[in-house]
């Protein structure tokens, strides 16, 4: 059975190691914070100027001067710090962030990502995505394997305007976990529970590499 958004978030949470500073994009990536194992100590960055994002506030704690990059009201933790946008992107470009998790409209088999613009439709802008993908040492993409219209989002080459070149390391979709094997294609690492290798191959337009038995994900 294909994973739902929570399933994708739970699977990504397993990738996270203690001691990491992490930037979570809007949507599924934001959900990942809810499924981190208790023992894993990480710090979440919000690119509008905060390290140490806390839970959403109680109704009496809401502060309009404290929001995340998705403009949601948030709280801070003990040990949090606040800073300007220039400092924040200095942190990002300077590769001080260990992991970036973000959504995508398309990923190519060499790790290109497209997630900021659909020509002819409204352009909302790239926000911080281009800085993040140009700089992150480790990028995981969270997305559906195929679009609503049934087209694969894992392609030989992106068809939409690019956000960044050769940057994605791993992709977690509703069907599979894959990593980019530079120069080779998408290496299939894990199947969603009950999803066959054939189904994943069918849903993947780019070159897919399958070696031996591909294990099923373990999701709690």
């Amino acid at each position: 059975m294909a994973l739902d958004k929570i399933g994708i978030a739970k699977r990504i949470a397993q990738e996270i190691q203690t001691g990491w500073y992490i930037n979570l994009g809007i949507g599924i990536p934001t959900l990942v914070a809810n499924y981190l194992p208790e023992a894993v100590e990480v710090v979440l960055q919000s690119e509008n100027g905060l390290l140490g994002i806390g839970p959403f506030p109680g109704k009496n704690e809401v502060d309009p001067d404290l929001i995340n990059a998705g403009k949601q009201t948030i709280t801070m933790l003990n040990g949090s710090s606040l800073f300007s946008s220039a400092e924040s992107f200095g942190m990002i470009r300077g590769e001080h962030i260990n992991l970036t998790i973000l959504g995508a409209m398309e990923v190519s088999e060499n790790g290109d990502i497209a997630n900021w613009k659909i020509p002819g439709k409204m352009v909302k802008g790239m926000g911080g995505a281009m800085d993040l993908v140009a700089s992150a040492k480790n990028i995981i993409v969270a997305m559906q394997h195929v679009s609503r219209s049934g087209d694969s989002k894992l392609l030989k080459e992106c068809t939409l305007p690019i956000t960044g070149l050769r940057c994605v390391k791993k992709i977690v979709t509703d069907l599979a976990v894959l990593e980019i094997s530079p120069g080779e294609g998408f290496r299939l690492l894990e199947r969603a529970p009950g999803i066959s290798v054939e189904e994943i191959k069918h849903a993947t337009a780019g070159k897919i590499l399958v070696t031996g038995d591909v294990p099923e994900m373990t999701i709690n």
Partner: protein
């Protein structure tokens, strides 16, 4: 110390002219110069180029200046959630230059810090990189980007003193400190204006040297875009 206080927003903005380039602090609706925006509406100047991370919403922030058609061009990183913006853009009435958020922040910082150009990896191989100089350092490609400056920078702080020193609060800091450095004239509106000597010199976010005019703001709405609670 040099006293930068002016009476109110109307007095502060009155030298802004048609076709000026103005920077406006804020991320979304957080930390925006609400009083200055209202005063510019009243002033009625036209043809403005606005540099701001976002373009407000339909009926608040820079969205208000779009409604009155006072803005010819926006330089921003994210402009979602604004129907009037979309209409003007599609009708060709509004020029829009979209930049990566970090590039925008750094170009403004560079403008204030006397750095005419710098290299950044953001946007290499994308539309943003078209026509820009690319150079490779240690095997990685970077784009050459230039400083941004403004005729006027409008920033919003939490506390400020009569000498123009500013302290921001929470994530309302965002683009305000860099924009304060990059305006030929920087106007700061503050929630609390205090006498010089009231703020700890060690806690100042923006030194007064960058601020030409400061005033006590009024009636802050501080609208929340995504009211989200745990319960």
């Amino acid at each position: 110390m040099i006293n930068k206080v002016v009476e109110n927003a109307e007095v502060a903005v009155r030298n802004i002219k048609d076709y000026n380039v103005i920077m406006l602090g804020g991320f979304g609706l957080c930390g925006i110069p609400e009083n200055c925006i209202t005063a510019i509406l009243k002033l009625g100047v036209k043809g403005l180029t606005c540099i701001s991370n976002n373009a407000g919403v339909d009926d608040f922030g820079i969205g208000l200046l779009l409604q009155t058609r006072q803005v010819d061009k926006m330089i921003s990183s994210y402009v979602g959630e604004n129907a009037e913006f979309e209409r003007q853009l599609l009708a060709g009435e509004l020029q829009v230059e979209l930049l990566p958020q970090g590039t925008l922040a750094e170009r403004i910082r560079a403008g204030g810090a006397g750095i005419p150009a710098f290299f950044t990896p953001a946007g290499v191989g994308t539309e943003v990189g078209q026509g820009k100089e690319v150079r490779t350092f240690n095997g990685k490609d970077y784009l050459l980007e230039f400083w941004l400056k403004a005729d006027f920078s409008l920033v919003k702080a939490w506390k400020g003193d009569t000498a123009g020193n500013l302290i921001f609060k929470g994530t309302a800091r965002n683009f305000n400190p860099m924009m304060a450095t990059a305006g030929n004239i920087t106007i700061a509106e503050v929630e609390e204006l205090v006498p010089e000597g009231s703020l700890d010199p060690n806690q100042i976010h923006t030194p007064g040297i960058y601020v030409q005019k400061i005033f006590q703001g009024t009636n802050y709405e501080k609208r929340i875009e995504q009211y989200t609670t745990s319960s």
